[in-house]
Amino acid sequence: MASPSAIRDKLRKQRRSLQETLGKLKREGDDEQALFPSSRLSEESLQTTMRDAQSSEEDPGETLKQKLRAQRQMRRKRLLEQISTQEFPADDVQELASARHLSEDEGSSKRTTDLQRTSLASKAPKSRASQQFDRFVTRRLEEKLRAARSQGESLQRQEASEVDASRLRGLRDRTTVTRSDREVDSEADSSTQPVPQAASSRVKFQESSKCVEKERPTTEEAYNFFTLNFEPEPEPEESTSGKSQKQRKTGEDGGQEPEEAEEPSPEQSQDRNEEEPLMQDEDGNVFVIEQTSKDFVEVKSAEYIGLRALALRHRALVYTPSSQTVPISVKLPENVRPRYLEEEGLYVGERPTVTSTNENILENRILKMEEGAKWFGDDGRIIALPDPIKESSTRPPLFHMEDDLDPALQTVYRKPLNSRHVQQHSTDAADGVAEGRYQLDVDVSGLIFAHHPLFSREHVLASRLAQLFDQYLSRQRNNLAEHLTDKLNGLRNTMRNMLEIHSELSLSQAMQQRIVEYSVEVKNTRLLRDGEQEKDRMLLKSLIKVWKELKALREFQKFANTPYKLYLRRENVDRQSDERQYESDILSEVWELEAEGEVDYQSKLAEYKKQLGEWKAWKRKQKSKKKKRKKKKGQTQDETEEEDQEVSESEGPDEEGPPKPEPPEKLDFEVIKQQVREKASRIRRKPGEANLIPELTASGKISEAELCPRGELARREDVARRSVFIKILYNDKEVSQTNSRMLTSDFRVHFGEIFNLKIVNCPRSITLQVFEEVGSSCLLLAQVYVPVPHSSVLPANASIEEFEFSSNQRVMFDHEGVGSDVPLSFTAEGSDNVILLTSGKVSCCVSWGVDEDDVPLAPPMSQHPSILHGGVGPVDAISHIGSSGDTKKISEWAMQSRLDPNDPKNASIMQLLKVASSGEVTAPDYFRLEQLQEEFNFASDEELAQSRRFRLLALRNQEVPEFRNYKCVPSREREVTDKVFQDYEKRLKEGEIIDTKEHLDSHRALVAKYLQKIREAVIHRFLLASHHFLLSDMVIEEEMPCFGGAHLQRVPDRHLRDGGAFLELRNPEPIEMTGRAELLMILGLNLFHLAEPKRPLKPQRKERKKVTAQNLSDGDIKLLVNVLRAYDIPVRRSQSSKAGQSQGAIQASDWLISQVQVRPFVEVSFQRNVFQTTTADGPNPCWNEELQLPFRAPNGDYSIASLQSVKDDVFINIFDEVVRDIGMSDKDKDKGKTLHTRVEKHWLGSVKIPFSTIYAQSRIDGTFKVNTPAVLLGYSKERSSSNTGAYEAMQSLCQGAFITLFITIEPQLLPGESIREKVGLLTCRHDDSH
């Protein structure tokens, strides 16, 4: 890279040469015409020279250049032809030709270098920097050219200025006209374009530059390019220069600059054309131009146009509407007065608000426009639509979000939960109870003992008194007797009225019917009233009696334990009116009774008459019969004796049949009166007798302790020692307990505590346990079950209820306390015993809680069906009936039960009935959740239920045992036969019937059934549980062999234990699937293993990968049985002992056989497959053979539960292989002797190993004792023949043969928890208990 100064020098030289060339060019312009004809010739010669240059250079990259060149020349030819053919101004063509000639004529050497440069340009990527640079150079040159042009122009002017001008014009015209249709021009044009366009499109520039390379412009074009095109747009140039400056800098920094600098731009090459004559003398280095920024950068001051000048310029171009108000006359057509619609009473919408200045500006502008007037309305204002903006926002404000948000939409802020808790919520289960939002308030207010062991006699009486009084009060409150009396009077009056009104007229049928009804009603009511009155009377009497007893007792014992006092207030009544009323009452009753008696009598009489008639008829018949008989008797005396007997026999019962009816007694009026009076005196207050009103007060004094005898003192002390508390149990779990309170002398305990129970589980029961505390020991007195309140029961509307309790514990004291469950008598002689049990009442109140915002913390009703059944709170039954909308039934019921329409209690029903009867209440008799569902159904429910295929699929999904492993469900309905369900249905049917035949007694059968149920339940649970996986079930940490070789280490390479398990995920714990790097630690540990000695001869069994039995199929599992060796196999007895064997020929073989002690082999059979080992020799054989037995699970079900239930056993039999000679065949006697032998296998013993054991243990490795029969014919223990040493003696202790086995399952299966064992255990226990 040359120094910048050198570059500058070169540039200067170039400039100079350029100027000179230009001068020359102008001069040569004169003799253009002369030169033109030879241009084509010269070009052809040029081509040849070019080719020579190429061949001489031998540049490998020249091929591209060649192509380019060839193309270019072809084009040029075409162009020249075009030029010649098309009739253009001769001047232009000549000029072009001359220019070309000039450039091409300048010498072939220059040409080659030039080409080199162009090729370089085409070769090198046209980077942005180079382009900018090119442009820059171009401009610099252009400036020089401008100067030159002025010179040239002056020269031309001197000669023929007229022609020149026309030519220039022509050139310009040409550029505009021929741009599209002539290639040369487009190229020339594009070559003139780049500088102004460069800023906008570099790509274009590139193309154009390429074009330029292809088609070298003429001098004239170049001249035009430099002189003409840039004048109108000076500004873009500036910007490009600025850019180029910048990019130049970056290029310098980048270090790629030299190459880029060397790239000659097309413009440059054009220039070179002009300066070629000068360049000829210089060396090739000239073209490697290295330039500095200073050469290209020109600092210019920013262009500034003064404000005023700008304003002036703008005024010419821009119209600024004024903000002055436009007079109306201008806006409207002439001679039209503004018309205001509003004033005419028409509705005009409110215009949108626009500031007046803006409106004025708009109006002014519109007026300037064509048809400006059409924008104005009749009122001279701009036409506007009414204001579209609504006054209030459509979307309600969200300020008080929490206040009245739909409860369904309310959100709860939840703390991030641990995964354990998250699991509990299912996605769609809105099980609110589980969220602990509900609260039960249990208010335990107090406890009253109705009887307590520590009651003294007086207490017993007092409590009885109190109870009676309570009863009295409650009766008084209801006042049934009074109510019934009123009713009775009312009924009597109506009846009387009716009779009076209709007395003269004959009673109609309906009337009579009504009267009968009334009289029945009266009778019933009277009976009821009498009962009530009697009860009242009795209560009062017993109250007084108890009080008398109490008084007597107090007097007797000379102290008082209870504060009760009974006052009897007398209410004097007016004797006369009372008597009158009494009498009239009795009279009316008597009347009624008489009437009733009359009716009764009449009916009885009618009955009597009827019966009498019957009787008489019978009698007559009888008489006639007798007469007949007598006649008969007269005729045939002898025969009739027997007959008579018969007749008398047959008539015997007839005579007894209809007895002679007694005539009914006519009721005596006096008797009735007497009866009524007696009754009245018994149950009613006597006329004139004062009305007694009892009042119980606790105003009495309890005697001081010193006044009491010893026994009483002891009792009182005992009472003082005792205290009572209550435990609250929710769902049978203790949740809280009250403070213990001392028992007071009145045996009332006040707690007044409220317990707020935050509920998680659905409430089933609330229990209060009453405990009595004596010293440190507690005694459960009683349990009180409190019903779970209805969810509408809140503290505000809950009332305190009393729940009675009692306990049957027997308590006796040696002091005054009466005890419990002890006979007690108040009479002196000990009769009239009563047994009192500890009892009392707990007053408490259970309601659902409310939170701070008074939101009830109660569950919605539907969630607690149990509660709805169990504890129904104070619910208005009628409103419930009403809500059900079944008014018809109510009215029916009201008719039947003859509701009293005047009774205020029935008011609501009456109201309802009235509404129901008057207004048309057309409530549908059903409620549908999903409307229009039925109308759009494809099929009915029954059809869906009948589908066998669906049933099969659903049952399989439910994992019903019969279908759990049903592999192929047919796709068509008809392919599913009913047979499939037979077993299942049979089982379902049998579930209900208990078969007693199979068992000894029915109880056993029941137990067996129960066990079966439990077993099913357990299996079902197990199945459910098998869908829940723990992390360890799903992720296996693969073991990776480490340095130790045989030793294995845990490595955190986790993967899923079983893909199948993962597919069945229901609700897994969130599992993280990322591994943890614990490798370093393991590596450290493994270093120690390196030091351990290696034992290649001691093979160890490796731990294998475990597989869950889920994605397995038949043939995947094999049972590996490795038969290693056996000990002490019985040996054959010596053959000599065998009798009946022929000596001689067999002798030799016999001897051989006798040499062989035993030849045992092992045969393993499992699931009908039999495999056997090779035969070994001797009583201690060693096989060391591995047998693979295929395993098939029942029904192809390879789940854990199924595998556990496989009941197959592996049988390992040891046989002795005996080869017997069966003699020579007779057939082949002539041909020679053929020896026939028979292989016999003699069973020696067996080992049985159940598959379930192998599965549970996953492998079995050890020596087993072979089960051999006690006597094995033909075999004996080897030991007997061998010498007996001490060791042998030891061994003889454990008799029998042994075999060493190793059994395992391939692949290794995961043994599951054995539920079957649990169930089995349960069975055993259950059986034991019976």
């Binding site: 979307r395 309600p396 969200l398 979000m401 929490e402 948000l405 739909d406 409860p407 369904a408 939409l409 309310q410 959100t411 709860v412 802020y413 939840r414 703390k415 991030p416 939960l417 641990n418 995964s419 998250v422 299912s426 996605t427 769609d428 809105a430 959740l929 999903e930 229009l932 569902q933 759009f936 159904n937 494809f938 099929a939 009915s940 429910d941 059809e943 869906l944 589908s947 669906f950 699929l953 659903a954 399989r956 999904n957 597919l1063 995920l1065 229901r1066 609700n1067 897994p1068 969130p1070 599992i1071 993280e1072 699937m1073 990322t1074």
Partner: protein, 175 residues
């Protein structure tokens, strides 16, 4: 009786502010629908992507329904949860989409949202985690008047569902 098989997977989720995501899903169908086989709800594992923000679950969905009507076409509702470094889980988004009613393979992206609490709740959410959750999650798929609910957009859950219809044409439902 028409049948509907839904076979597919919960592919994954993108655009959530946290990683370590898991998803609880459930299918909700009307009264006319009967589940023949397959589980209609489940939960994926927690996926913590190493690169990118897409959590991939590839959780299988395989459900077989029989129906006697078109009403209550099955809807799939999702809850995306995040398990933080302490092992605590918090809700990130609710989403719901209908199971496509045309047979074939469908790629569904289900946009999710989560309720926005008061500013206090948002603050505590930022520092201690947790967040507002719907009291009754069934409004994810039921159209209660939700306009009062302030929610915040969360990421999207990608699903691939293949739908197989059977016998619908027998009842005049062109598929």
């Amino acid at each position: 009786m028409a049948e509907l098989h839904i076979i597919g997977q919960l592919v994954g989720a993108t655009g959530f502010p946290h990683n370590s995501l898991f998803c609880k899903w459930g299918l909700n169908a009307g009264g006319a629908w009967r589940l023949l086989s397959g589980s209609k709800q489940g939960q994926t594992q927690v996926d913590n992507p190493q690169t990118g923000d897409t959590a991939y679950w590839s959780h299988p969905i395989d459900v077989h329904y029989a129906t006697k009507g078109l009403q209550g076409w099955p809807k799939l509702h999702l809850q995306v949860w995040h398990q933080d470094s302490f092992g605590r889980c918090q809700l990130l988004g609710y989403g719901y989409c209908h199971v496509p009613s045309s047979p074939g393979h469908h790629r569904i992206s289900c946009a999710t949202w989560r309720p926005l609490g008061s500013w206090r709740e948002q603050l505590s959410q930022m520092f201690v985690g947790g967040g507002p959750q719907l009291r009754s999650p069934d409004i994810i798929y039921s159209g209660a008047d939700r306009y009062r609910l302030h929610t915040e957009a969360m990421g999207t859950v990608q699903l691939e569902l293949a739908v197989i219809l059977r016998n619908f044409d027998k009842y005049g439902v062109d598929s």
